[in-house]
């Protein structure tokens, strides 16, 4: 039995401010299951990816949306899913999410995922791009010199700026947040770029991981005045969790406070309370618990509630961080609605709040804060 508040939160049109594309084509069962964990390792012997919150949520919540009556087990689900045309599956789940604007990180998984024009054809929502800084550098490195890289980045960001909603940095993965918070000098950038180019010539992968270059990208992004998203907190096994605690960013946040760019801390779990503090004290800091919502499934209500403690309600956003299976695009929204409504309802029941208070906060987090930070889409 739903409360009035739950029904109203159910109806909200959301902005998903950090998401990736849905799968471009039909996928085999193994690939689908690999996309339901952050691990890139084989599963532990004798275990199934469905023995997890995300696995349970898919089996319990998605069949109804997809009209798959009677599907109750992972095997049933995998079988039934294979029979659905990709476009139909994707459209149904994206529509059911109630998201009417997607800000899509295009920096990863190009061949596996729908590109933005294709994604636009399977969703009623509008689609805007978030460009990934490291991916940009890794493209530019092949066409410029050590001396020219910095200007090439600045020029490229300036060109892209009118067409994107913001930038994304994965410095948490590539280095960690324990970096020198100051703007690197031009000569340091040239030296680092030279080192990087020589390594690539010697056969190294073009993956940028030099902290001087990663910092250069961050400052170049802030110079555009557009919002800058940073992956924070947990992710795949590449990452050193304790070095992705957003509290470590504090000196850098002070450095870029006057840049005009808002800093969007993504995911943050299990450091979402630290993120909430930063969002409380710094006007240019925002955050979400994106990735953690899908991955904690039925337990996500507590994570969502914890994200609504210290931060002003004007500084928290919704994202799904869905990547690949469109089940994730749907479930992120569904779980956010449920957890947010339950949390707000408890404050009505026990904390002296009115239903209007609650609904105002749901609207801020689900939509209005993102609109204020990212503006309207360019026509």
């Amino acid at each position: 039995m739903s409360t009035d508040l739950e029904r109203e939160v159910e109806e909200l049109a959301l902005i998903d401010h950090h998401v990736h594309g849905p799968l471009a084509g039909q996928t085999d069962d193994a690939t689908f299951q690999n996309l339901l964990t952050e691990s890139d390792r084989p599963l532990a012997h004798g275990t199934s990816v469905f023995h997890s919150h995300l696995g349970m949520a898919i089996i319990n919540e998605c069949p109804e949306v997809l009209g798959l009556d009677g599907v109750r087990t992972p095997a049933d689900y995998l079988r039934a899913r294979r029979d659905l045309p990709v476009a139909e599956l994707t459209r149904t789940l994206l529509d059911a999410s109630g998201v009417d604007e997607w800000l899509v990180d295009t920096g990863l998984g190009e061949s596996l995922l729908m590109d933005l024009p294709t994604m636009s054809t399977v969703t009623r929502g509008s689609v805007r791009e978030i460009a990934r800084l490291e991916t940009i550098a890794e493209k530019l490195v092949t066409t410029t010199t050590a001396t020219g890289l910095h200007d090439a980045v600045i020029g490229h960001l300036d060109d892209l700026a009118p067409m994107v909603a913001g930038w994304k940095s994965v410095i948490a993965y590539r280095h960690g947040f324990d970096f020198d918070p100051t703007r690197p000098s031009r000569s340091d950038v040239i030296t680092a770029a030279g080192r990087w180019m020589r390594a690539i010539e010697s056969g190294a992968s073009p993956r940028v991981s030099d902290p001087v270059l990663l910092r250069m990208l961050l400052f170049a992004a802030c110079d555009t005045g557009l919002p800058v998203q940073l992956h924070a907190g947990y992710g795949d096994p590449d990452l050193d969790l304790h070095r992705s605690n957003p509290a470590l960013l504090v000196d850098w946040l002070r450095e870029v406070e006057s840049s005009g760019s808002d800093i969007m801390l993504l995911h943050c779990y299990p450091y979402h309370r630290e993120a909430g503090y930063l969002a409380h004290v710094f006007p240019h800091v925002y955050f979400d618990v994106g990735l953690a919502i899908n991955y904690t499934g039925a337990a996500s209500t507590r994570v969502i509630a914890e994200s609504m403690e210290l931060a002003p309600f004007t500084k928290v956003l919704y994202s799904s961080d869905a990547y690949g299976p469109p089940e994730l695009h749907y479930l992120g929204a569904q779980l956010w609605r449920r957890g947010t409504a339950r949390t707000l309802q408890s404050w009505i029941d026990d904390g002296g709040w009115s239903e209007n208070d609650a609904l105002r906060v749901a609207r801020l987090i689900g939509r209005e804060n993102a609109r204020r930070v990212y503006g309207e889409a360019h026509e």
Copy 2:
């Protein structure tokens, strides 16, 4: 509908063991609103300080106490509040808190806040002083020499000791808890004091931030045997959150374990579980979640519950950390009562506790632990 336990917790006379004075005079709306956030920055564009737990709690909980029927919006509240005489507003809210003893940190905001004698006239509770160590040093530095500073501090603390309930350190703000845990040598203190004095002569602010001097103050305080309060965990943007984790104090806590002084960790959020561990294993360690209660408002029940996990119930205290608006002196107590009663009720309902168990714990945390640590006021 209240439970018996809620009614009994409602009636408890509390000791607020860490608080600041209420506002001395009428304040304009901007100043009032600035005092409802820990940030010293302008608000993010398009946001209101009332879109926060504290803002919501004020609008939802204070009008009734103040007899402001029909006040439902921030604008209404600000307008109605301006018409109330300061002494009446303050007296009403302080009385409604049910606090009958206030331990007041006098080290900050002297011109803005009521002094202790004035505060005594607007509360039925008794008022005792907590003297701030850094403020003492910053006064003494103008009247002594580098060689004399250490003895001047010791002499001043000895003089004050009979008149104060304890000391307060803000080393978390001025340096962080990653300091050398040993007692500084006399010659190190003289060197550091000389450096500080020369800096002041050269025009620097007299703000003490040298870790040698901050440590000297801490050890001098512990030598008096009086309780020593340390700000821990979140605060304003000056602070590096991860360096204010009380777990970092462990070596220093071992150093001062035999001093006879109890160490009172204030606020601690989001490191209140770390504080609970320290309070569990070290007999001289106590803590509260003071500041976090007002700032998490309707969500404070979970923070309060988390503060009642590992620590013995004899080692947790109540404080509001209210500073300025007397709404904070009231709300801290009100929210503590609600969150504590709800938490304890859940242990009666689900955990095998009796109502007597619950009430005994509420009395320990709300009053008796503070009485045991700080003793009775001197007559």
Copy 3:
């Protein structure tokens, strides 16, 4: 009134995968009370060990199991307990736990606790050994040379391997997790062993704390392919809490990923979310919140719930970490059942789960994961 799920979780036969022996003999009241805290310090003045979650749980939950009608206070309980024969008291509480297999860390408290054969006589459960690595080294050091220590350890572990269920390391206590993650060289081990032996000859205690030797033990343990348990998170005042955060193990976990040994992170509080992340991304990582369950008593439901967020349900285990009073062997299980059932019930009520989903997860965590990792007992 219990739900169906609560009744079914109540009936589960558990494997307690990390526990110590129960008290061997009658104990005086002081010793009993000392065993109800992780602190080795005297209690703070004016406080009682029963003013804690564990103390409350014992008084509220154990009299009924022991047939001590009318016992309601600590004094009553201590008096009544003294009259019960040790074997009967122990048998009653161990039986009431519903544990049918105990994996017992034998590395600490030999004279105080029952040895494994004796423990086997007072429990219907089977009893298997977890051998403590540091204790093994501290025995071997007296009978070998600096050059011979490494091989002596390897030989000893090889001899023991067929008879034990796994190994336990307390490197968290002896050094912290901020150790060099690589395998130490043979010559480094010889140098460190020589240093240790000379220190012992000079009268130092034979306690091994050199990080080179502690790492050697860890790698030797992983070379056996048996599960390796690591104390993580909170413990007694010896430990630096922030240095026992399992997130700090990430590089070492990568080093031993291919060893075939599973890494079992014990307790982890307040870093159980970090542990859950590691268990999510690394196939060889498992964890529990053992010690934290008894010590948070009526509040343990939230800790248990938080341990069931990010980690797959196949990677979380049950343990009591009981040491000494058999009340702890019972309460650990009792509190785990209650907290787990409540948590799972909330996901049925609010999260779309079926009762079958819930029961399957309870079985995984309470029993099946341990069976899969540790195998069946050798006959």
